[in-house]
Amino acid sequence: MRWMSSVKNGFLCGRGGALSAALFYLEAFLLSSMALAPLGAGLHRVLDGSPEALSLASGGGADLLGELAFNQPGLWAAGFGLLPWTILLHVVFALVLTAGTYGLAASDEPRHPWGDFWKGALRLTLPFAGVLALNVAGWGAVTVVPAMALMGVAKAVEGSTSSAAVWGLVAGWGSALLIMAALFKGSLGFGQARYTLSGKEEGFGRSLLNGTAFSLRRVVPAAGITLLFGAGRFLAFWGLYWVLAPGFATGGRALASMVLQQGAFLAAAYLRAAEIRAQVSYMRSWDELARRPAVGAPADSQAPGALQPAPALDSSDTLL
């Protein structure tokens, strides 16, 4: 199964993937630390001298948070003052890091990951900014469509007496949305992979179109890869909020929760790097099948850490 092999290639990322994951993680850690520094200072100023504030440390004191909101409006304004700039900076950094990761994934010289990373970043960052624009539009749709879907579900379950019907509707709408999101995201991802592999042979716009066509022709494996990594990230974040977050409410587990929290972020970063490598691997395997030499395909596919093309098509791959 070609797509499973690609996923395996993604997960067995070697030094290149590890470098990408580490960069993703470190960038988010440093920028969030920077964004939260003023708020942290403000919270220390307001709370350190107050014995009452202790209940906040253990997950209580919602009314005290309300007090902070009502009586210390400056705290939040100043505390989150850096956040918009951080996000802006993050968008730029994330573009560079993502481009570098795609470049690294398609690299034929994985012995020099650092150099390959920057080569990819230099070549791909600008075109990938277009993906960002598409994503903004996509997010718009992704915000509007679920809102409409939610309204539809709310209307549909109005007066419903059957649990099965309600959960069936929720599951149905949820699945449809998930598949739509996976197709949208997968199309962009395979477009990026295609552009990365095709070098300057194909313009970025054409690569995106071909990437979309590619993922639509192979809708099950293409959406499957996206959904698989999406599910991994969901599990990481689910764990963050529902398993680890309660640890902050208990003094003894706070430190452990903090460490595990960073572990979850690292896992999410690793999954992103692995997803990119899996997309590139899957795209490359089909290019080879078409007897079309993929630009940037490894000259020495046996080089250690090199991205392996997935094996030939078997009956489990779906062609649409």
Binding site: S50, G60, G66, V91
Partner: protein, 664 residues
């Protein structure tokens, strides 16, 4: 709609009365004045969501002035069109529920007559108020003090799609405020009969209700009172309910209800549940049992033989969270996690209204705090004792928890000084202010009173008030008088500003100083004859140098050094409330001080170990305190709360940044 002739109405009502068997007697001795008694025969059309009813009212004038007219509430006319007071005030939204403007509703009186010497004399309807939710008729024969009037009324209801208490959703019908209902005659002040306002609830006299409802045979019905007769006719059935010493009658009908019944303390608990929420039946049952126990213990055993809990359908939550005599509507939802205790809280709250509204029947239009506020205070007590004070609303949802009192504080501190508690409900600056002043602030006021009196005395005082208020229409002044009598002291100076004023209170630690004990200069008058202190010190130093170096070294250790400390506590805001102050010292000892709250500040002085921590109101006895974060001072805080909050925020911010990678 077809209009029936008055003769037909009268004939129907009298025939029903003649044919009726006698309903059971529930209370041998009436508990209330029973001066507004209703017999209603109603038939529901579940397809059109409409109802036709015949009503006979026997009303006794218990005031000292004659009544020359009668005023009725036609509450359903709140939904008649966009010009009703309710719709204008609400803009079609009640709580978070939106009105469906394709589904208006009304209550129309098709005929009304007064029975005078056995004859029906038609009365002319007028609408003297801003909308048609209030109807007035000039009486054919005035009613002297102690006299009685009888009315026969034919009426038709069209139900709106439910968004504010009454209405329908599919086959679910919630019949609240559904029949023409008398206002409250107040003698020389006339009838107290306000329009149906967005923020107001209701007010009426006690009586006996005999209500027969006809519904399709497959429908399950829940109602005020007890079911005493059931008769089938074709595809329909007629259920007869009887209630005594209540001031309203509500019912619900749906073919989908799952019925669960249990008996607890001789009270039948009947839960009418949506099938989708059947898993929450134990939550409702447990809540009612807990409330029956606690209210019975603190105030008076629940006197009625039944309590019905109605669970509205998905999308019909606008009918939820409402109280009627012996029938309450709750609010479950398959999407509410177990750690969020809203279903319990709402059920306990609505049950509590059986006491504060049901029995102590204040004017909800004008002094809503007397039921909502006092009842919310008891709700917090039940919830806090059942779960625990700091997790009685949210119990560990993603590591967060919140107590009921904290939730009330959250509501109050957003709008603390805009309106007083005692204010007609439609005069509040906003819906948020009404909620804060009618529910939240009274909880904090009563908790503060509890802190002043102590729990046992508070129980005594509140029970005394309830016992005198039950089956009457108590006012805020009654509350102040009765509670003062029971407390053995005038509580007005404390409570009146809290209830009638907009003042606030905010205690804070203004200053803490601990200075090393000062070296004496000049004459030491403690010895005779006085000598210069410096000479004494020189002598001391000489002694120390002869072998007491070790002891001196001991004295110099920080823990053993002596300090002159001063703690200044300040009171901001207009409310004067006594408060306790805890002062802890570095050697582990502490002192608890009491300040009567008079003046703007007080100061405490100490000679001894250095002050390590000061906490104003350490036991949280003054939850009315607007800002609790400034209530303390600690020498070394450690920064744990700030670090914990920052870690939680990091989950969001870093998580957001990591997620953004997926869209690049």
């Amino acid at each position: 709609m077809r209009t029936r002739s008055l003769a037909a109405v009268l004939g129907a009502v009298l025939a029903t009365a003649a044919a009726a068997q006698s309903p059971p007697v529930l209370f041998q001795t009436p508990m209330s004045p029973r001066n507004a008694n209703y017999a209603i025969d109603a038939s529901l059309d579940p397809v059109k969501h409409a109802l036709k009813g015949d009503e006979r009212i026997r009303w006794r004038n218990i005031q000292q002035a004659p009544a020359t007219d009668a005023w009725f509430h036609l509450y359903l006319n709140a939904f008649v069109n966009s010009q009703s007071v309710f719709m204008k005030e609400s803009g079609g939204q009640h709580r978070q529920f939106q009105f469906d403007d394709k589904s208006w509703g009304y209550c129309r009186v098709t005929a009304i007559a007064q029975i005078v010497e056995g004859k029906a004399v038609p009365l002319k309807q007028t609408f003297p108020r801003e909308d048609s939710t209030v109807m007035r008729v000039e009486l054919a024969a005035p009613v002297p003090p102690g006299g009685e009037a009888q009315f026969v009324i034919a009426f038709e209801d069209q139900l709106p799609k439910v968004f504010a208490r009454a209405g329908y959703l599919g086959s679910f019908h919630m019949m609240g405020q559904w029949f023409p209902k008398l206002g409250v005659f107040q003698g020389d002040r006339g009838w107290n009969c306000h329009e149906y306002h967005l923020n107001s609830e209701f007010f009426s006299d006690f009586g006996v209700y005999d209500v027969a409802v006809t519904v399709p045979k497959a429908y399950v019905v829940g109602a005020t009172g007890v079911l005493w007769k059931e008769a089938d006719k074709g595809d329909t059935k007629t259920l007869s309910f009887h209630a005594e010493d209540v001031h309203d009658f509500a019912w619900t009908a749906s073919p989908n209800f799952v019925v669960a019944e249990e008996t607890w303390n001789k009270v039948k608990i009947r839960v009418l549940m949506q099938p989708i929420n059947r898993g929450d039946i134990p939550r409702y049952m447990a809540s009612v049992k807990r409330a029956l126990d606690d209210f019975g213990r603190w105030l008076w055993p629940y006197p009625y033989s039944q309590i019905t809990v109605v669970d509205p359908p998905l999308g019909g939550e606008g009918a939820g969270g409402m109280e009627y005599p012996t029938l309450i509507t709750a609010d479950a939802n398959p999407f509410i996690p177990r750690s969020v205790l809203f279903p319990e809280m709402v059920t306990v709250h609505e049950f509590g209204h059986q006491y504060w509204y049901g029995m102590s029947a204040n004017n909800e239009f004008e002094e809503a705090w007397l039921d909502e506020g006092i009842n919310s205070y008891y709700e917090t007590r039940v919830m806090d004792e059942w779960f625990s004070p700091n997790r009685s609303i949210v119990d560990g949802f993603a590591g967060w928890r919140m107590g009921d009192v904290a939730m009330q504080r959250l509501s109050y501190i957003g709008v603390p000084g805009l309106d007083p508690i005692v204010l007609p409900s439609w005069k509040y600056v906003s819906n948020g202010a009404y909620n804060a002043m009618s529910y939240a602030k009274p909880v904090l006021v009563l908790k503060t009173l509890e802190g002043v009196l102590g729990r046992p005395k508070m129980d005594e005082v509140m029970k005394a008030f309830f016992m005198k208020a039950k089956f009457t229409h108590p006012t805020t002044e009654d509350f102040l008088r009765i509670t003062s009598e029971a407390a053995g002291r005038d509580l007005s100076p404390l409570l009146r500003p809290m209830l009638y004023g907009t003042g606030t209170v905010d205690f804070k630690v203004a200053r803490v100083t601990s200075l090393p004990e000062e070296t004496l200069k000049g004459y030491d008058m403690s010895v005779s004859p006085p000598r210069l202190a410096e000479k004494a010190r020189t002598a001391d130093q000489a002694r120390e140098s002869k072998g007491k170096d070790k002891a001196k070294e001991e004295d110099r250790r920080p823990a053993n050094r002596l300090f002159d400390s001063s703690v200044v506590i300040q009171r901001e805001g207009e409310l004067v409330v006594p408060v306790e102050v805890l002062v802890a010292f570095e050697d582990g000892t502490s002192k608890r001080e009491t300040w009567d709250g008079q003046g703007r500040y007080t100061a405490f002085s100490y000679h001894g170990p250095k002050v390590a921590k000061v906490v104003v109101d350490p036991d949280g006895k003054v939850p009315l305190d607007l800002r609790r974060l400034n209530n303390g001072w600690v020498k070394e805080g450690g920064g744990l709360p700030a670090r914990a909050l920052k870690a939680r925020l990091r989950t969001v911010v870093q998580g957001l940044l990591v997620m953004l990678f997926n869209w690049m």
